[in-house]
């Protein structure tokens, strides 16, 4: 309405153009003039009574609505500063006077509400809609909300102002009037009535506001804003949203002010209700999560301490105040945080932290003990309900996924297991968790064939040894961790049965969550855990094999580590089962003395040897009756080759004398050793038999080692730690008696003696496989050259021909592979192969006589009835049956039942 209209309106109180002129003004209902009264104009009076009320009301309505109607432009809200008398009258009439809305009539309040709604719909809503139509980008979220809040607040003021200025006073006045008249009781009622009116109006407006915003989008945006504010307040850097952390650190006060302003603004325009609270709760939930994932709560790798206290402090002094502030802004019912709530939140946060840590527990375990901080965090977490359950099940999953698969080497698994033992000892000193977690690992390790070997050989390796260190790195067959355990001081604990130790004042009941076979292990004793993976018998069998192999290879003549290891195992597994191991160890120690004695006796064949007797070692030799020692029985031709007198000329023969009954079954290939050695062996044997009456020696030529010097035409080389068959083969490439002439006659330069495999086999009576192995070794060392398949010649002159060196390299590789496969102890598989025929015929006989049988029954029968026992399990038996099926002897009938093929 422009100025002119205003002026016009002040003179002619005619309805403005925008409003329909009510009929009574345009064509007033004059009614009937009463007899005697003048026929009058429009303002004659209200003699009309009831029907005149309607007219009057309509007129007042018209005036009031015209006055109260909202301008199109919400910006110019100052127009209605004062109201004219007729407006006042009309308002009074309509609100509290006679024209107060009655039944079926429209009240002014309702009208005004509607007016506001219409106004909002036509002028404000489109703008807001535009603002909220699309997804709100995170970047603009703050602005959008600010803008919305500002607009709504403005609009609200715009609507409220006329209401407050022009409607409320009348209601108020009315109420006070009534108060004068009425009792206290009705006064409050009336004031309530008045408040109710304004409250109702506000509510209507707020409903309109709320309705025009997309609710989900709004609460999401709000939630994000609050979350963002929280992040900024606490300086979390969340990058995954694409939000760039502001380069200049904002002042936290600024952020806080902005947030509180926005929140209270939203609350004022009615957007702070349940929705906002829910959004707020969401935001806080996320904030907690973010905090736990933030850099503040990263594992403390450096000072190795728990960060749980930090977490608690933050929840108390950082998180709670924020919540309180926001709740105050949103005018929640109780804006104070209760202590119980605080505790609950702290636990909630701790639970989340714990779950986060559990998810990475495997990594922490691998990096034990730098990850001590994380483990300590978890220790706190474990105090919560259900945490143990969660931890064990989750960690077991991690183990089965990441550890117990064919790709992991046994050494790796063992190392991880040790880390687990140590870490879990810290986590739960009672060991219940460890027991639960370790069970699958132990089961798995038991199934691996090389576990025992690795453990025992690691125990036998010195971690400080230079050579040892390279072994740990390269082959991966040894575990450094286990070797380190060996170095630890060795506590000898008596293993009394604690259940019945009634004098123990420190007795404590078993943990209530322990499983029935739980055993209290007070000490973090890794070796104990490792040694108890197997049943005692299985382990000792394994130990016997490995120790046997090890002792035969061992270079250290004192056997200190071996003695220590045996001692260690004895303490843990008991003495009685380890007889074989002790005998083996004693055998090798004893052998040294016997060697000394035998050399001494062989050495001095002169009569003065009686005087030497006291000096001989306290070995068993001198104790034996030696009255008839026939000095003449030592063949005189051997005397020159006796070792001690002339070491450079003849070889030294040292022997390890084994008590074969207690040793594992050793490899035992027969072949002829060099004549020189054969003679020495005979001599040794006869002396031994003289010293130890009633005993015989049997040489196991496939075992032992030797050092030789090879002299060629152009070079001399020394080789150490050769196997006997390698030496024998090399020896065979020397001219034989009678052959010498012919070889010399050929006189070809640079070529030595040529032999083929068949010749060698015959000369040495050696297995073809061994001959090939030895030949490959010598070709690898550039001593022999293959002139044609299976025929080799000595390289007497080493020219740098690449052909030779290539062949040598290839052969060396082959030799290394073969060497890796040779062990001194026969493996189970070898044993099975050896006795396969016996077993096969037994099975065939049994199945023929008894009909079809299941595997377990066959196994049982074989264990009982086969001569020498059947030391294998069901798996091996199945393999054997499979082989037999291949040969067409038996047939599988399914379900593990086998029968004879008909």
């Amino acid at each position: 309405m422009d100025h002119a209209t205003l002026v016009f309106a002040s003179v002619f109180p005619v309805p403005s153009l925008s409003h329909t002129t009510p009929t009574p003004v345009a064509t007033p209902d004059l009614g009937h003039t009463a007899p005697g009264s003048s026929f009058g104009g429009p303002f004659i009076g209200n003699a009309g009574g009831a029907q005149h009320r309607a007219v009057k009301r309509t007129q007042a309505w018209s005036t009031a609505t015209r006055f109260l109607s909202l301008p199109n432009n919400p910006g110019s809200g100052t127009r209605r500063s004062q109201r004219s008398a007729d407006v006042e009258g009309a308002l009074y009439y309509l609100l509290v006077g006679e024209g107060k809305s009655e039944e079926g009539e429209k009240g002014l309040l309702e009208w005004y509400t509607n007016e506001a709604r219409l106004h909002f719909a036509s002028f404000v809503k489109p703008a807001l809609k535009e603002l909220w139509e699309k997804e709100v980008e995170l970047r603009t979220a703050w602005d959008v909300l600010d803008e919305t809040q500002r607009t709504l607040e403005q609009v609200q003021n715009f609507y409220l102002q006329p209401f407050n200025d022009h409607i409320l006073p009348f209601l108020h006045q009315d109420a006070t009037n009534k108060t004068i008249r009425a009792s206290q009781l009705s006064q409050t009622a009336d004031i309530e009535l008045m408040d109710a009116a304004s409250w109702k109006f506000e509510r209507h407006i707020h409903a309109v506001f709320a309705h025009c915003l997309p609710p989900k989008r709004f609460s999401k945006t709000l939630s994000y804003i609050l979350y963002d504010a929280g992040c900024r307040l606490f300086r979390f850097y969340v990058r995954q949203d694409g939000v760039q952390p502001s380069t200049t650190p904002e002042s936290t006060r600024e952020v806080r002010d902005r947030m509180t302003a926005l929140l209270s603004g939203l609350e004022r325009v009615g957007l702070g209700g349940n929705n906002a609270q829910r959004a707020f709760a969401h935001a806080m939930n996320q904030l907690l999560e973010t905090f736990i994932a933030s850099h503040y709560l990263k594992v403390d790798w450096f000072s190795k301490r728990s960060i749980v206290p930090d977490l608690r402090v933050w929840v108390k002094d950082g998180f709670c105040p924020l919540v309180e502030l926001a709740m105050e802004c949103l005018r929640c019912d109780a804006s104070d945080v209760q202590p119980t709530e605080l505790k609950q939140w702290q636990e909630m946060a701790l639970a989340r932290l714990g779950r986060g840590r559990v998810a990475n527990l495997f990594d922490f375990v691998i990096h034990w003990d730098r990850s001590l901080g994380a483990i300590l965090d978890l220790k706190d977490y474990l105090k919560l309900d259900g945490a143990k359950q969660y931890l064990t099940s989750n960690f077991s999953q991690q183990i089965s996924r990441r550890l117990l698969h064919p790709g992991a080497t046994t050494t790796y698994i063992l190392n991880v297991y040790i880390s687990i033992i140590r870490a879990f000892h810290k986590l739960d000193p009672k060991g219940v968790l460890l027991e639960r977690v370790a069970r699958p690992i132990r089961r798995y390790l038991k199934e691996r064939e090389d576990t025992a070997r690795i453990i025992i050989s690691s125990l036998l390796t010195d971690p400080d040894d230079e050579v040892g260190n390279t072994k740990f790195a390269s082959s991966g067959e040894l575990s450094y961790e286990i070797a380190m355990e060996m170095k630890k001081p060795f506590a000898n604990r008596e293993e009394a049965d604690e259940e019945f130790n009634w004098n123990d004042l420190n007795w404590q009941p078993l943990p209530n969550d322990a499983s029935p076979d739980y055993k209290k292990s007070k000490v973090e004793d890794v070796i104990h855990f490792l040694l108890t993976i197997w049943d005692k018998e299985d382990f000792i069998n394994e130990l016997k094999n490995i120790l046997g192999d090890h002792l035969l290879r061992c270079q250290d003549l004192e056997y200190e580590k071996e003695i220590r290891l045996l001692e260690l195992i004895k303490v843990r597994l008991g003495d009685e089962k380890l007889q074989a191991c002790e005998v083996m160890l004693r055998d090798v120690l004893e052998s040294k003395r016997i060697n000394g004695t035998i050399h001494a006796t062989g050495d001095v064949l002169t009569p003065e040897d009686q005087g030497q007797q006291p000096e001989t070692p306290a070995g068993p030799g001198p104790r034996q009756p030696r009255p008839h020692r026939p000095t003449s029985s030592v063949p005189s031709h051997l005397t020159p080759s006796t070792p001690i007198l002339k070491p450079p000329e003849g070889p030294t023969l040292n022997a390890q004398i084994l008590s074969s009954f207690f040793w594992p079954i050793l490899r035992d290939e027969e072949f002829r050793v060099p004549a020189q050695i054969e003679a020495l062996q005979k001599e040794y044997e006869s002396r031994f038999e003289r010293i130890k009456g009633m005993r015989k020696l049997r040489w196991m030529n496939a075992l032992g080692d030797s050092t030789i010097i090879l002299e060629f035409e152009d070079r001399t080389e020394e080789f150490e730690h050769l196997t006997p068959w390698q030496v024998s083969v090399a020896y065979a490439f020397q001219p034989q008696p009678g052959e010498e002439r012919a070889a010399g006659g050929k006189g070809k330069k640079g070529e030595g003696i040529t032999r083929n495999v068949e010749q060698l086999e015959e000369m040495l009576q050696m297995d073809e496989g061994l001959v090939h192995q030895a030949l490959a070794y010598w070709v690898g060392k550039s001593v022999l050259r293959a002139v044609s398949p299976d025929t080799y010649t000595v390289i007497e002159r080493l020219d740098s021909s690449t052909k030779d060196s290539d062949a040598a390299a290839a052969a060396q590789e082959l030799a290394e592979v073969q060497a890796a496969q040779t062990t001194t102890v026969k493996s189970q598989a070898d044993l099975l192969n050896e006795k396969k025929d016996v077993y096969t015929s037994f099975i065939v006989g049994m199945l023929t006589n008894q009909g079809n049988l299941p595997v377990m029954r066959i196994l049982m029968m074989m264990r009982m009835l086969v001569q020498g026992g059947f030391p294998f399990g069901a798996e091996e038996l199945r393999g054997l049956l499979g082989d037999m099926e291949g040969d067409g002897k038996v047939v599988s009938l399914g379900a593990d039942v086998w029968g004879i093929r008909k």
Partner: protein, 106 residues
């Protein structure tokens, strides 16, 4: 080529000079094993051959002979048990005594 063997570390197994697979008639352990009380075979648990050509672990036959009911007879053939070489039991006795102070290598 000339091969010179400097050193030869051989391995040998000892056995009692007895028929294979035979066991001591008293403890039923193989001769190459020990009697039921001993830990180490060989010198510490030797065999004793009687004049009746029955042999036992020395400890086994001694503890048998010490019993009243044995009447110093061989448990196998009921002949009076005498060691084949007369000085052997005495020697062995002395041996067991001298062995006491000796500590085992372990």
């Amino acid at each position: 080529m000339k091969v010179t063997i400097k050193e030869w570390n051989a391995v040998a197994a000892w056995r009692w000079d007895m028929p294979d697979d035979d066991v001591c008639g008293i403890c039923r352990n193989p001769y190459d094993s020990t009697c039921s009380k001993c830990k180490f075979p060989g010198d510490e648990c030797p065999l004793l051959l009687g004049e009746c050509n029955h042999s036992f672990h020395m400890h086994c036959i001694f503890s048998w002979l010490r019993q009243e009911s044995s009447q110093e007879k061989c448990p196998m053939c009921r002949q009076p048990f005498k060691s084949k070489s007369q000085e052997a039991p005495a020697e062995a006795d002395a041996q067991t005594q001298t062995q006491q102070p000796e500590t085992s290598p372990l």
